[in-house]
Symmetry: C2
Subunit: 205 residues, 2 copies
């Protein structure tokens, strides 16, 4: 694209670095910002800069937080003997939205993915093992994506944790609630038959 | 969504104000920025702020520019007797990319749209009339979208300009090059039959 202004070109180039944003979308976003009040754009710019410079991560669960210990880890109402291991902060938000979990979390910061060059040392694995070793943990629940990377991470973490006197569990996999059988993919359906559970166990407590 | 951090929430809210960006996309973009180096995010933030504060508009054609008169208007190689009227800077870029036009431009800054409360006084109409009146213009070419708003704007501008001794033209409408007849919409096909041109005229000069 031929830009009539270097400033415009630079701004479009910066936006186009964002995931899923191409040159045309970037240009649309930049022209939108140009139509806004100077104050609004200044606020946009300042908020992003402030976020990156002032953001903290909870010292316990490593979730994004405004404090050194996040609200969940600091809450006496939560069950501190149960750790739910997730990939990133979006998963914490998703689980919190269900209101079905009252324990605390551990944010790995990614999943093991040899293809992307991400190994166990790039993730918060040692800190998880340390937490299990030094605090009163009874159960570690893995809530990881049902993908190759998720399964690899699960396999590795299970090996690291199996010698501790804790219950290791993983969130249930199977057909989704409200899902019609004929539309479920073969692998999910096949696995959900193979890993069938007694009806009485399938009712949530 | 329940955010674990006010900083995160603010940043997501700012991104979600952009057109076509919802809460989930905004969160994805913000988490991407959080994974980048501080310097990169600072550059992103500074570029946007600089753009909004330092951008200029060409005094002649009102296109976005780094100078008081843009490169196109300042160029002695361009034909200054021909003005192409467009909606915004994206249209200038699109026409420049074709390399088929050697005249200068006039950027309206929008189209007349009563539905959105945009009238002629919100656009750069008077400055266009002034340019036609005070400079040596032989032809005004309208390159506006083939929409209701484009046609309304065209109708209005034609009324304002028709008493001047100039040629008023509009870019050709019809079936697109490479387009197969059976896939062309009815209105375009119908109009392209009604407004058929002698074969010799249809060949570009």
């Amino acid at each position: 694209m031929n830009f009539s202004s270097k400033l415009l070109e630079d701004a479009v180039a910066e936006f186009a670095k964002l995931p899923g944003v191409g040159q045309k979308t970037a240009l649309r976003l930049v022209l939108h910002l140009l139509n806004q009040d100077k104050g609004d754009v200044e606020k946009f710019s300042a908020t992003i800069s402030k976020l990156r410079n002032e953001i903290q991560f909870c010292q316990v669960c490593l979730n994004i937080s405004d404090h050194t210990v996040c609200e969940i880890c600091a809450s006496p109402k939560r069950d501190h003997s149960m750790i739910c291991v997730v990939e990133d902060t979006r998963d914490v938000m998703a689980i919190e939205n269900t209101s079905q979990y009252n324990g605390i979390y551990h944010v790995l910061g990614g999943l093991i993915s040899p293809m992307d060059g991400i190994g166990p040392t790039d993730l918060e694995v040692d800190s998880l093992v340390e937490r299990v070793k030094s605090t009163e943990i009874k159960e570690v629940i893995f809530a990881l994506s049902a993908t190759m990377e998720g399964d690899t991470t699960l396999f590795y973490l299970d090996k690291r944790l199996k010698n501790f006197d804790i219950i290791i569990s993983t969130i249930a996999r199977g057909i989704a609630f409200g899902g019609e059988l004929e539309y479920v993919d073969e692998i999910t359906l096949g696995r959900s038959i193979a890993t069938r559970v007694p009806y009485s166990n399938s009712l949530s407590k």
